[in-house]
């Protein structure tokens, strides 16, 4: 644009000498040159990174096929050695048990590991070709990888928030706390705010503003919860401490007439 303006200024003293269509032609020529150069640069870049894109898809396809093969072999092999039966015999009723059969889980896991490996190799091949092709340091790819990390953080944070919120809700309801839902929501938002702050930090968005906002929000939620719990559950804490002291006094002895639960002396659940 500066070149164009400079050209226009240089040609300004002669503007009365010639016809106006000469100036228009000059502008159009410069614009056309600029567009051609820009198109050339983009096309050159695309041609340069095309092998990288192809390498990405080829690596992904090859490792997916390898993953399918390994998965099928593992599935058949584990079925042949009766791995599921062995595990069912040995694990008893352990709390951690897979929803599907263990051999299917292993086969599926191996498949996805191969796919992930293909993705990593493909991305690194693409990265190499992009770095050599790009003449200017455009930080598109690193930002993309950060975005993937941020998405993982977001998913993990949401899952943890939901799990903790449910744990707190059920625990608080069974402890007969009237503000169980409030407590659960507080914990949920605490984790979600923390997750959001981590995601923004990971993406390098907001800088000091995000940090400040997170500090204020997190501190606010913690203070609110502390006030709510502190003021609302004094009785519960004192009861809990009293029962703890009583229990420690009779450590190791199984009572045959237990202390009453739920405020009723004659009800025995066991």
């Amino acid at each position: 644009m500066q070149n164009i303006l400079a050209t226009m200024l240089q040609e300004a003293p002669n503007q009365n000498a010639g016809p106006s269509y000469i100036d228009n032609a000059s502008i159009w020529r410069h614009m056309s040159d600029a567009l051609h150069q820009s198109l050339y640069r983009v096309l050159s870049l695309l041609i340069a990174i095309l092998p990288g894109i192809l390498a990405f898809f080829v690596a992904l396809a090859i490792f997916t096929v390898i993953g399918m093969l390994i998965s099928a072999i593992l599935r058949r092999g584990l079925a042949w050695v009766k791995f599921d039966d062995y595990l069912a015999r040995s694990r008893g009723n352990a709390e951690w048990t897979p929803a599907t059969s263990p051999s299917a889980l292993i086969a599926r896991g191996s498949f996805w590991v191969c796919v992930l490996l293909g993705l990593i190799i493909g991305v690194s091949a693409f990265d190499a070709s992009y770095a050599t092709a790009a003449t200017r340091p455009i930080s598109l790819l690193p930002y993309l990888t950060h975005s993937v990390g941020a998405i993982f953080l977001l998913i993990a944070g949401s899952l943890i928030a939901r799990f903790l919120a449910r744990s707190v809700l059920i625990g608080a309801v069974n402890a007969h706390l009237q503000y169980a839902r409030f407590l659960s929501l507080g914990v949920k938002w605490l984790v979600l705010v923390l997750t959001a702050a981590m995601v923004l930090d990971h993406l390098e968005i907001g800088g000091i503003v995000a940090e400040l906002a997170f500090g204020i929000l997190f501190g606010g939620i913690v203070l609110t919860l502390a006030l709510a719990v502190g003021l609302g559950s004094r009785d519960l804490v004192s009861r809990s401490l009293e029962s703890h002291v009583e229990r420690s006094g009779e450590h190791g002895v199984v009572p045959t007439n237990p202390p009453a639960t739920n405020g009723s002396e004659s009800i025995r659940h066991f």
């Binding site: 069912a88 015999r89 040995s90 694990r91 008893g92 009723n93 352990a94 709390e95 929803a99 799990f163 449910r166 744990s167 809700l169 059920i170 625990g171 608080a172 309801v173 069974n174 007969h176 009237q178 169980a180 839902r181 659960s184 029962s243 229990r247 009779e250 190791g252 002895v253 199984v254 009572p255 045959t256 007439n257 237990p258 202390p259 639960t261 739920n262 405020g263 009723s264 004659s266 009800i267 025995r268 659940h269 066991f270």
Partner: protein
């Protein structure tokens, strides 16, 4: 409790070992209780063939003829654990016993005839597993009445009233089977896991005999938190049912009842059910989201009706309770939500059942008759469980 030295067994000559002996394993107990149990045993069995294992230190000279062996010192527990069965089988093998009588804490409250019946049921080869039927107060053992007994009866076709009895008579075959099952837990560092002898006996096709033993002071968990214990016991039973699904899905005939339903007089004083109702109502307003993941709309509607019912009129239908337990069992199997959360969400519903049960018994109904009705509702609803177990995604109104 400290185990006695091995010198106890050394004082007994090897010739005292009788191949047809009964091995009695006692839980740790106070000296006076131990004397009482030993007196009952001495009056019930011939002392020549009797081997008594106890972790407590005492003078064996007071009981001539009885051979005492030291057992490992364990914490007194309110029920038998996997490690107890492994230990019992090992001791039976070492002492060439052919029948085992395991007596839990508080067994001094059992009559001598109860011990004799339990032991003789095994010694006479009439059963592989002898289980006591306790005569408990109307408001005792409520988790057993609400969940353990009805589920065991419906799925394993057994009328044993106390599937998690703390006293058991075992034949050597039964002890071996239980020890094998317990080994699986021990291999994964779960020696404190619960075993379900009735289910194991049903799976093995062994004969189980239930014997009326009268009243007993039942030991209670040292942990008074009902939430933890209920989740632990129910979770263990659910896991056992899950592991034995191939067995109980086949239709089985329930043996006829041993006699008329015993009359258990209701407690005189009306229990305070208000805290339980409050717990249920609080849960209803807070746990809807979680319950709706587990229960079908019909059950949720039933709970909604209960929510608006007054305390005196509070009655949970037997069919509704059976459906709730079955749906929680299905959710446990399908891992619809985290299992810890699932069992935690069951607790307020159980408290609602207890409140309803107390209301029913206060109105004059025989508590045992109500528990039998609940168990019958579980039996009637078993096809629902089997159907949804096989096809969980089928439409469920």
């Amino acid at each position: 409790m400290m185990a006695t030295a091995n010198s106890i067994s050394d004082t007994q000559s090897h010739s005292a070992r009788v191949a047809t002996g009964l091995l009695v394993l006692l839980a740790p107990m106070a000296a006076n209780e131990l004397d009482s149990v030993l007196a009952n045993l001495a009056s019930s069995f011939a002392t020549e063939g009797l081997v008594v294992g106890t972790p407590d230190a005492f003078s064996p000279e007071s009981w001539p003829g009885v051979r005492f062996i030291p057992t490992r010192a364990t914490n007194a527990s309110w029920t038998l654990k996997a490690a107890d069965f492994i230990h019992a089988y090992q001791l039976a093998g070492e002492n060439e016993a052919r029948a085992i009588l395991m007596l839990g804490p508080g067994s001094s409250s059992l009559r001598s005839s109860a011990l004799r019946d339990l032991g003789n049921a095994i010694l006479s080869n009439s059963a592989e597993l002898a289980v006591p039927c306790y005569d408990l107060p109307a408001r005792a053992g409520l988790i057993n009445s609400a969940i353990l007994y009805p589920l065991t009866r419906a799925l394993f076709a057994s009328r044993v009233r106390f599937p998690l009895a703390v006293d058991l008579g075992l034949s050597l075959r039964m002890a071996e089977r239980l020890a094998l099952a317990a080994q699986r837990f021990a291999a994964t560092n779960q020696s404190e896991a619960l075993l379900w002898p009735i289910n194991e006996a049903a799976l093995a096709g062994f004969v189980t005999k239930e014997l009326d033993v009268g009243p007993r002071a039942t030991p209670q968990p040292a942990e008074t938190d009902i939430n933890a214990i209920l989740a632990s016991v129910t979770g263990s039973l659910f896991a056992d049912i899950d592991a034995k699904a191939a067995f109980w899905q086949r239709p089985r005939f329930l043996p006829p009842p041993r006699g008329p339903v015993p009359f258990t007089p209701s407690a005189d004083a009306a229990a305070d059910i208000a805290p339980m109702l409050d717990a249920f109502r609080l849960a209803y307003t807070n746990l809807q989201e979680i319950w709706s993941l587990v229960l079908p709309p019909n059950s949720l509607l039933g709970l909604k009706r209960l929510y608006v019912t007054d305390g005196a009129e509070f009655r949970m239908q037997d069919g509704l309770w059976a459906r709730i337990v079955f749906d929680f069992l299905l959710a446990y199997r399908l891992r619809t939500i985290n299992r810890g959360h699932l069992l935690g969400a069951l607790i307020p519903l159980y408290l609602a059942w207890v409140a309803s049960h107390i209301n029913i018994t206060v109105s004059g109904t025989n508590p045992e008759r109500h528990i039998e009705a609940v168990a019958a509702a579980f039996e009637a609803d078993k096809p629902y469980l089997v159907s949804r177990w096989r096809w969980p995604d089928r439409f469920n109104p």
